[in-house]
């Protein structure tokens, strides 16, 4: 078994306070010690060259197993959404998905909560768990039938699985492709009020209270939504939520000129909601930042706005955009790594995303200040559909270790 020591790095320990120099000891594919520990003589020392050493990012909710993009972005594991060409509602498909990235990338599939993601009949969640599913998900959709949703939560809680849900009331959202407001009115786009999100969250929090289930709202993007989550957390319910950088740094005016790369689901929100989202990251309401990576080629995006598929390629920009939150003083680097690694691992119930002994030896070396410019024509991802094209950013993952092995 190989024994390694990462030396001369600045450790961004999610569980720590501040970023200081320290050592990480690794045996095989596991971390055995970290921080101010002695380096034994018989280990292979790896010099981090003064870079920030952090756990590999764990991306909670992506739509494709797009390894080049994940590796570029310092992402070592991702939870795969059940919305695949064949919905992940069967143990065989789950097993297949878990193997797709190995050995240098691990996929943790999210089991479809209902057969075919249709929102009517429970899928074989227990069998999918046995095959490697780490959570249950409603996919891109909200389950409109409250009775079905209650049974999904109840059943999943019996298996110890978190239910990952999409928060948009389907009656209000309908065929909307934008948030109600000036931009949607100017462009003549089908739109829904932002409260479609809070309405969905309000119902699902009540069902989580009744069933005692753990629920994770994958993307929360409005002030009203965060207010409900904040209250539920204060009450002690097992409620968590995530967001992606798009909602932190863009508002709905980004779709002006019918830019389909900014067509997302849920749609981009008002500037007030954007600011509330930053506030929710800063005050700890947000638990997870995800790329929501969904690479889409011209056949899905070079279309009239309402006909284009929603989604953005986010894996490559996840770290660099999130580092803005540290530079702007909203969160510490440690807290950021909690949002990007430790919390996703906790929700999925996997031993990763931390420096604690026994945790997976998935590490990234980050050069947090190196500037680069996002270029949609030169991305590692399967497609370059980023609304951040030509935006200057800072921070790159320079080196990735997956399971004790450098890529």
């Amino acid at each position: 078994m190989s024994r390694l020591a990462v030396i001369n790095g600045k450790l961004a320990d999610p569980a720590g306070k501040g970023v200081g120099s320290g050592v990480i000891l690794i045996e095989g594919d596991r971390i055995v010690g970290a921080g101010d520990v002695a380096v034994p003589d018989d280990v292979e020392a790896i010099d981090a060259g003064g870079m920030v050493v952090a756990p590999g990012l764990i991306d909670l909710g992506v739509f494709a197993t797009d390894k080049p993009a994940f590796h570029f972005g310092g992402i070592t594991r991702a939870a795969l959404m059940p919305d695949q060409s064949s919905p992940l509602d069967d143990a065989g498909l789950i097993r297949q998905a878990t193997r797709a990235g190995k050995p240098d990338f691990w996929v943790h599939p999210i089991a479809a909560a209902t057969r075919g993601l249709k929102g009517t009949e429970l899928a074989e969640i227990g069998m999918m768990q046995a095959a490697g599913a780490k959570a249950v998900g409603t996919g891109r959709q909200w389950i409109a039938d409250s009775g079905v949703m209650m049974r999904v939560l109840s059943y999943a809680s019996g298996l110890g699985l978190t239910v990952i849900t999409h928060a948009e009331d389907s009656g209000l959202a309908g065929k909307a492709v934008a948030t109600s407001g000036e931009t949607a009115t100017r462009l003549g786009l089908p739109h829904a009020p932002a409260c479609a999100e809070a309405m969905a969250i309000a119902r699902d929090i009540m069902l989580a209270r009744v069933t005692g289930a753990a629920i994770h709202f994958r993307l929360v993007t409005t002030k009203a939504g965060f207010d409900l989550i904040r209250a539920a957390k204060t009450e002690g319910l097992n409620v968590t939520c995530g967001i992606s950088p798009a909602y932190l740094f863009l508002s709905d005016n980004a779709v002006t000129d019918f830019r389909t790369f900014a067509r997302l689901s849920p749609p981009l929100r008002s500037e007030d909601d954007r600011k509330a989202s930053i506030g929710a990251v800063a005050d700890g309401t947000v638990d997870v930042i995800t790329s929501s990576h969904d690479p889409r080629g011209p056949e899905d995006k070079r279309l009239p706005f309402a006909d284009a598929a929603p989604g953005m390629a986010g894996a490559e920009t996840l770290l660099a955009l999130s580092l803005n939150l540290v530079r702007e003083g909203h969160v510490s680097l440690n807290r950021l790594m909690t949002l990007l690694s430790a919390n996703p691992a906790r929700i999925l119930g996997i031993d990763a995303g931390s420096f604690a002994p026994g945790s997976a030896a998935d590490l990234i070396f980050i050069d947090p200040d190196t500037p680069w410019i996002v270029d949609s024509t030169k991305m590692a991802a399967q497609a370059g559909n980023t609304p951040f094209n030509r935006v200057p950013v800072q921070g790159r993952a320079r080196k990735i270790m997956k399971g004790g092995v450098f890529l």
């Binding site: 100017r186 089908p190 019918f258 279309l303 009239p304």
Partner: protein
């Protein structure tokens, strides 16, 4: 008819500087003096269309105009076809029903195909907001938006403005009530921007379920009920209510809509005594407008709107092809 005062477009502008746009996609792209310039150009065609025994002009001879209509239309398509032919262009119509769009060809591929046929101007209607701009970005010739989704229908707004100017003499202080299904209406969006830019006081009059949010940002003040919106109006512009909106989704029924928002003679009496009635057509008689109002020759400008439509489209086709035709000052 009042005297028409035609304000000079903008001081010191000549040639291409008067209208420096390659395409006509949205009223939002136009400055007030650019709108006035197009109206002035159309005035000339309105006269010759009405007076001339020979309506034919040959300035677009040898040029190919493709009318690519991905959504059904009778009057707009006909209007563009007549406008092109009166200018001497070779006009070809493409209907979605007969096109390869039905066979799954993407919009971009269709655009590339049209472009490869070396059209000199393309007129496009499409059911999706933004679709016309998408095509315009991929072709080498001027593109005219003949209506895209709920977004824009710029020639309709221009022809409405020309009709109003001819009947009312100008726009300053004029109260224009745009009534009906504002939410789903590209005609309303274009007209609100256009008339507000020209100095009119624009009202959007609609039941709350058919009023777009933040309509004020397009230059209109929202009103309901109908009677409040009509009070003191100089122009009452009715919008077509699409059949599929009448089935309980946005309003309970056509007859209830007529009761609350239909333009009846009694309701028209709330507007100014000489208020002008307009409708972009086709009308749902007995739904948004009563026949007796639509057919009143003293008040209704509906057929004049159709007439001005040809003039406006001739002006737009002429102006947008000037650069390609090498008209002096426009290259």
């Amino acid at each position: 008819m009042p005297d028409i005062t035609v304000p000079s477009p903008s001081p010191d502008l000549t040639g291409r500087a008067l209208f420096p746009h390659r395409h006509l996609l949205s009223i939002a792209d136009l400055k007030p003096w650019e709108i006035r310039f197009l109206l002035d150009e159309a005035e000339h065609w309105a006269k010759s269309n009405r007076n001339g025994a020979r309506k034919h002009d040959d300035r677009l001879t040898g040029m190919t105009q493709i009318n690519a209509f991905f959504e059904n239309s009778t009057r707009t398509l006909l209007s563009f076809e007549i406008a092109g032919k009166r200018l001497g262009a070779d006009v070809v119509n493409m209907h979605a029903g007969q096109s390869s769009v039905k066979k799954g060809e993407t919009l971009i591929d269709t655009a590339m195909t049209l472009n490869a046929m070396a059209a000199d101007v393309i007129v496009i209607r499409h059911a999706s907001s933004g679709a016309v701009a998408l095509i315009a970005g991929k072709v080498d010739c001027p593109v005219l938006n003949a209506g895209d989704g709920w977004h824009q229908h710029p020639t309709q707004a221009l022809l409405d403005a020309l009709t109003i100017r001819r009947r009312k003499g100008g726009f300053e202080g004029l109260i224009v009530a745009i009534c009906g299904d504002v939410l789903h209406s590209r005609v309303a969006r274009s007209n609100m921007l256009c008339l507000a830019a020209l100095g009119a006081q624009v009202r959007a009059v609609a039941p709350p379920t058919l009023m777009p949010p933040e309509v004020e940002m397009l230059g209109a003040t929202p009103y309901h009920p109908m009677d409040e919106g009509l009070d003191g109006a100089d122009v009452v512009m009715m919008l077509r209510l699409q059949n599929e909106r009448m089935d309980g989704a946005f309003i309970p029924s056509a007859r209830e809509y007529h009761m609350l928002y239909g333009l009846t003679p009694e309701r028209l009496a709330i507007a100014k005594p000489n208020a002008l009635v307009m409708h972009p057509g086709p009308m749902n008689r007995g739904v948004e407008i009563s026949s007796s109002v639509a057919d009143n020759p003293d008040r209704s400008a509906i057929t004049e709107q159709v007439e001005m439509g040809v003039a406006i489209r001739m002006a737009c086709l002429d102006v947008l092809t000037r650069s390609a035709r090498g008209v002096q000052g426009w290259s």
